[in-house]
Symmetry: C2
């Protein structure tokens, strides 16, 4: 069995940056998981004493607080800043952008539509920058059900699929005479998606590595499954099952933007052993 890596995969700019920031800020705490990868978070806690808190209410003696890549709400950020914490902002710049857009558009009186998952921390954060009504839609049907009577600005969670975003905008065009479309899907997401799609078209089995709560990894898995039905989403090499690869010629490997390289290498190593 030939093992082939996607042309683009794994750590994006924002995740690399956040990990570097965390490693340079030992004895600190992050509000929520810094990135959606439990193994990397365990490593940061073990080697750099970077703790993970669920929310700001859990802060006790910590002085240094790191803002996760997905950002937090405007209120929480202000609260931290106004209470003299040493706030270290690891919010991905590509997530800052939709926060700023939403704030500006809301100031100009636009209603906001966010294509994303309402429970995802990035979406919760971005949403908090609006004063005008915010509609969060998960898919095309969600957009069809919207009741909108005025001009709208629409943005996307950075890790979503562009094809679905396009369909949502098409639906909104029936509902509003003026729409401001900001394509906030980040380039790394776009490239990883494109590379996964290309690889899934030639592979007969696909392994997509990343946190089960990682939005961008879930998207990669969905794309992979669409083009290669034998696709598997795993968090690490322990989940691999030999039976998946029986009689397969090409095994494609891709990984989400929050998947560290050492996990990817462990998976590849174990896959290589299956060959023999």
């Amino acid at each position: 069995m030939k093992i082939e890596l996607a042309k683009n995969y794994g750590f994006c700019f924002g995740v690399k940056r956040a990990i570097k920031i965390a490693q340079n800020s030992p004895n600190s705490a992050t509000i929520g998981e810094l990135i959606h990868n439990k193994e990397e978070i365990r490593r940061l806690e073990r080697d750099f004493s970077v703790k993970t808190l669920n929310d700001i209410s859990q802060i006790k003696d910590e002085k240094k607080v790191i803002i996760r890549t997905h950002g937090i709400t405007k209120d929480d950020l202000n609260l931290l800043k106004n209470n003299d914490f040493d706030v270290i902002d690891a919010t991905c710049p590509f997530v800052k952008k939709p926060q700023q857009i939403v704030e500006k558009m809301s100031d100009q009186g636009y209603e906001i539509v966010i294509f994303g998952d309402e429970n995802h921390p990035e979406v919760k954060g971005v949403k908090s920058y609006s004063k005008t009504p915010v509609h969060i839609v998960f898919d095309e049907i969600g957009a069809q059900n919207l009741n909108i009577n005025r001009k709208i600005a629409v943005i996307s969670q950075t890790t979503k699929k562009i094809e679905v975003f396009k369909k949502i905008v098409a639906v909104l065009m029936d509902k509003s005479k003026e729409i401001r479309v900001f394509n906030t899907i980040c380039n790394a997401t776009y490239k990883n998606q494109e590379a996964t799609q290309n690889l899934a078209q030639i592979a007969d089995v696909m392994v997509v590595i990343g946190g089960k709560n990682s939005s961008n990894t879930k998207q990669l898995f969905l794309i992979s499954k669409q083009f290669c039905p034998d696709s598997y989403h795993i968090e690490n090499e322990k989940e691999l099952e030999m039976s998946w690869f029986k009689g397969k010629q090409i095994c494609g490997v891709s990984a989400g933007a929050s998947t560290p390289d050492w996990i990817i290498q462990n998976v590849i190593k174990k896959l290589s052993n299956f060959k023999e």
Copy 2:
């Protein structure tokens, strides 16, 4: 054979308004055809002495000049106003709107994309209101070929198909991080298209009446043909051929926004005679 009229068809608000204006302004001249219907234009000339000139260079002794429903270029309009003509503006308000949008967006530094036919007078007029580059795209492929590096505002010729407009916006979303989408397709166009589609789905022969140079009639014909292969685009009853209706059960009739009711009635009358 049953003859069934589309639920919405024929004269729109802007056309009705323009004809009323022309009838109230005898002994005048229009710059270009007031509406895209030669028979109605002949009637206005015969009964109200409203002449049709090709362009402003043809003006001789006329004092009263009527602006066509599709509008004219900003330069031509200024020239007329500055030369003391009695300018009677019959530009459809739904065409004024994209003119104003283009002027405003261009002032704010947006590049303009117009979904439309570059040779259509409405598009020529709307385009003239921009100081920034204007890209006119006729279809999805035209959009794919565009080279755009900045924020864009996109509008549509008022008489175009919404489905194609949506596809064009989807293509533009790959090319620009910020797009302002103004759905300038007029409501009458939208309703006539919807009604034609519904009727074409149940009819086994369709007759679409309107000028061969009428953009909105051409769109109706394309929609009709998509759902009922035996569709015919005619300008008047003289073009009807009995053979089209042999063995047909339901004949659907629709008409463009510039098709006067008396022409539609003539067609229906002749169709009724085919029954016997």
